[in-house]
Structures are given as structure tokens and as C-alpha cells.
Symmetry: C2
């Protein structure tokens, strides 16, 4: 790696072969040296999970000037931890997750392996950005996202992010009309329901597939990510690693009398 | 289940056999009917991970008046989702996670399967409390925690919690002096480093075990959970499911000009 250029650490949760990651490499190659440490297969819904019960391994899939690609047996968060200590050589200038096949807006940030790896970068003091497209297809069209991806990443490389804050960027599914612009939003209040699809094992025992429907609990709130996406905007939500609900502290003080 | 009593849904990330969960059942049995849906083995570090690539199953291990215990093949978050739709019959009055063998203070809340299941309960609109002891031993001593556990859970059953807020309760390791009391705190700023232990496969390839050392980045801050635990107090941190970093939104508005 050339120490003069910015170092961009990329990972995802769809696996190293995913189109979204490979398109991202192409979009960001002009901005600096790229190190990819991504899971060796799909890890959707990994959240910030870490692997403590089995050892991990990784292998180098590709290495050429300005680009090194590694595949790891762990979770997205493991990938960032492993890349930082074993491969990066120096502190990356940015961690970028994605581009995820499927949206990570509203409460889905809690389940997302893409945002898990982005939170890990943020906890390590590195400006970090998660990118997701509202299209789960393996051959999803990421072309409309490209100029926004490059501009947001360049802006973060130039100006950084506040300490303890990372970005959750979601793109509407590509459509003929293009995107209407970009909106800085808050997480919508939402919930998942009807989450299980029951099926029977050939010998009669019940099995359950996780599925479910997302419900936006405040569909009229135009300052939320879910609203922005439903209305053709790219959403950007600043996400904090300090999850303390400060507004609830006074009301809990009476617990100290227990 | 007797519909007249409160219904308490319990789970953990150490698995259904763990001492911490079984001690918790004993502590909370006087407060209502108990439904346990816990992983069938250890799931430490699961965060809010969900299982979408394989179907899940669960079996009933024990059933008697006031108590039903189920073991599930999924993550802690899966357990809560499955219990709510398949076993609870009605909305539980509280979700309680733990008691975890090992602390979940500061940024460890992001990796914790205990807090993952608690966040899931919170996202489903149920008052939810996570309990962790700063002692990873399989035979850890939970006795000093018992009166606090009962009092906090009773308080939450009686008064609820603000919408979108759950509790992260951590207990110091048991010592002869007992606990000094309970403190309502914020999450300490902290970080993990030196996270990998390298080992060699018999045929020569490198493998990596996740390990690491936690560093409290603000050890003098007496309003944090890490300080409370280091000084003999039980820590209670209100945790919000809205991770929006509102204080960062104005500074990002210029992104909308991209």
C-alpha cells in the first residue's frame, strides 16, 4: 500500500462476492488505497456480533497496487477488528460498510451487520459510513448511488465526523426518475411483526423461518429516514455509539433509594 | 399460565443451562408467571443478531404451574421474537435478560447478546431489563445481586419504563464487603484493543482467537457505569433504541447540497 494516499477499509455483511461490495470498490478506488476484509459468505443480520467460541481465519483473494481483498470466516465486526490489527498496517482514514443489498433504515440499524461493522470502526475512532440500497436482489442496480457514495465518502475523508458518531446512508431502489436529493434524518420509529413462518420437518417437528413485516410507526414524519426513502430521497442518519437515554435519567433516580 | 399474574419473559446469552439464568428464575418466581426462552447453548457476543439463513426450532424442557422453560436453536434476539409469537400467548409485562456471566458495561452493550434480547423486548414495546455480573465464572456468586434484581424488576413491573428505553444493570463481582448501593449512570467511553491471539493450525496456517483488553477512556468520570462498577456500586444505564446522534445533525446539513 502507498502510505501517501488515504486508506479506505471496506467490508460488508453480504459476503465478499456480493455485487454491492464489488461496485463499491469500483466507486471508491479513485479516492485512495483500498483494503477489503469481508466475510467469506453471507452474514445478514449479524448486528455487532463477535465470534468468541471458535478461532477465525482469513485469506488474501486479490492483491494489486491500491487494492487488497481478503475473505474472513467471521462476522462483519470480526472483519474490522481483524483488518485493523492484522492487515491495515496503519489506521485507516475511513471505514465503509456495504453497499448492502437491502435497506437498513429505522430500527433495522440494530440488526444490520453492515451497521455493526460501521459501529466497530466508529468505536475504534475511525470515521465510518454504512451504505445500503433498498433492493435485496443479487443483481441490484447501484448506479444511481455512485455519485452520492463518492461525494459522501470524500466529504468524510476531508472533514471527518464528530467523535462517537458514524453515518447510516440508505438509497431508494433505483428507478427511472432518479433520486430527488439527500436528506439528513433521524431514525424512524418502527417495528417488525408477523416474524415467523412455520414449517414441518419430514418427521413432524415444527421449524420456524424468520421473516416478518416492517411497520413505520410514524409514516407522516418527514424528518425520518423511512419517510425520505419512501419519497425518493437518499437518507443520512448520524448514529451515536453512546446509547445512554439521557432524557430518562432523572426519572430513574429513585432507583438509587432501593 | 395464570392470566392474573404478571408474565415475565426471561432469556440470556449464556444458554439455558447457565447458573445466572437459573438463579434469576429463582429470584423472580415470586413476582409472577415465568416463561423462559433461552438459547440451547452459549451465544455470547451475539449482539442483536438474528438468524435468517436457517430455520429455528425449540423444545420445552420444563413445564409446571408458573414456569415454562424452552430451549431454542437461535440467538437471544431470535428467542424473544419466537417466544412472543409462539409461546407467550399474551404480551409479557417485562422482558428480563441474564443474569449474564460477565459485565456488559460501557461499549460492551453493543456486542452483548443479553442487551440484544433486551433491546428486542424494548422494540416490541415491552419494559425490558438486562442484568450482568462482572464475573465470568460458571459458578459465579449471584447472591448479592438478588435483592437488587427483585427490587428493580418489581419497580419496572409497577411503573414501567419510558417508551423506547430499556435498562442495562451491571453488578460488581461479589465481595465480602457487599455492594455500596445503586447508581443511575451513563455509558462510559471505552474501547477494546489487542484483540487477537494468533495460533497455528497443525498444517501451518494462521488462526486467530478473539480476546482483547477493555480500556476505560474516562476512568475519572464518576457518572459512568464503569466508574460505578470499579467503585463497588450496582450500575443502571437507561439505553435508548433511537441511536440518532441529534447533536450531529446540524453539522451534517451541508451534505444536502451534494
Amino acid at each position: 500500500m502507498n502510505g501517501m494516499k488515504p486508506l479506505l477499509l471496506l467490508s460488508n455483511d453480504d459476503g465478499v462476492q456480493a455485487k454491492g461490495l464489488n461496485e463499491l470498490i469500483g466507486m471508491l478506488s479513485p479516492l485512495g488505497d483500498i483494503l477489503v476484509m469481508a466475510p467469506d459468505g453471507p452474514r445478514s443480520g449479524s448486528a455487532c456480533a463477535i465470534t468468541s467460541d471458535v478461532p477465525l481465519r482469513y485469506r488474501v483473494l486479490d492483491e494489486k497496487p491500491g487494492l487488497k481483498v481478503c475473505a474472513c470466516s467471521g462476522t462483519p465486526t470480526d472483519c474490522v477488528k481483524l483488518a485493523l490489527e492484522q492487515e491495515a498496517g496503519r489506521k485507516p482514514d475511513i471505514v465503509v460498510g456495504g453497499i448492502n443489498h437491502g435497506d437498513n433504515a429505522s430500527v433495522s440499524v440494530h440488526y444490520s451487520g453492515t451497521m455493526g461493522l460501521v459501529l466497530e470502526g466508529c468505536m475504534k475512532g475511525i470515521p465510518s459510513v454504512g451504505l445500503s440500497l433498498c433492493d435485496t436482489a443479487a443483481d441490484a442496480d447501484f448506479s444511481l448511488a455512485a455519485p452520492y457514495v463518492r461525494a459522501v465518502v470524500q466529504r468524510v475523508l476531508d472533514g471527518g465526523l464528530p467523535s462517537g458518531v458514524c453515518l447510516n446512508v440508505n438509497f431508494p431502489k433505483a428507478s427511472a426518475g432518479g433520486y430527488r436529493g439527500l436528506k439528513v434524518c433521524r431514525m424512524a420509529r418502527g417495528t417488525w411483526s408477523a416474524e415467523w413462518f412455520e414449517t414441518l420437518h419430514p418427521r413432524g417437528r415444527k421449524y420456524f423461518w424468520l421473516t416478518g413485516a416492517f411497520q413505520n410507526l410514524e409514516p407522516e414524519s418527514a424528518d425520518t429516514d423511512s419517510w425520505a426513502l419512501a419519497n425518493g430521497y437518499v437518507s443520512v442518519v448520524p448514529i451515536g455509539i453512546d446509547m445512554t437515554a439521557y432524557q430518562a435519567m432523572d426519572g430513574l433516580k429513585s432507583l438509587e433509594d432501593l
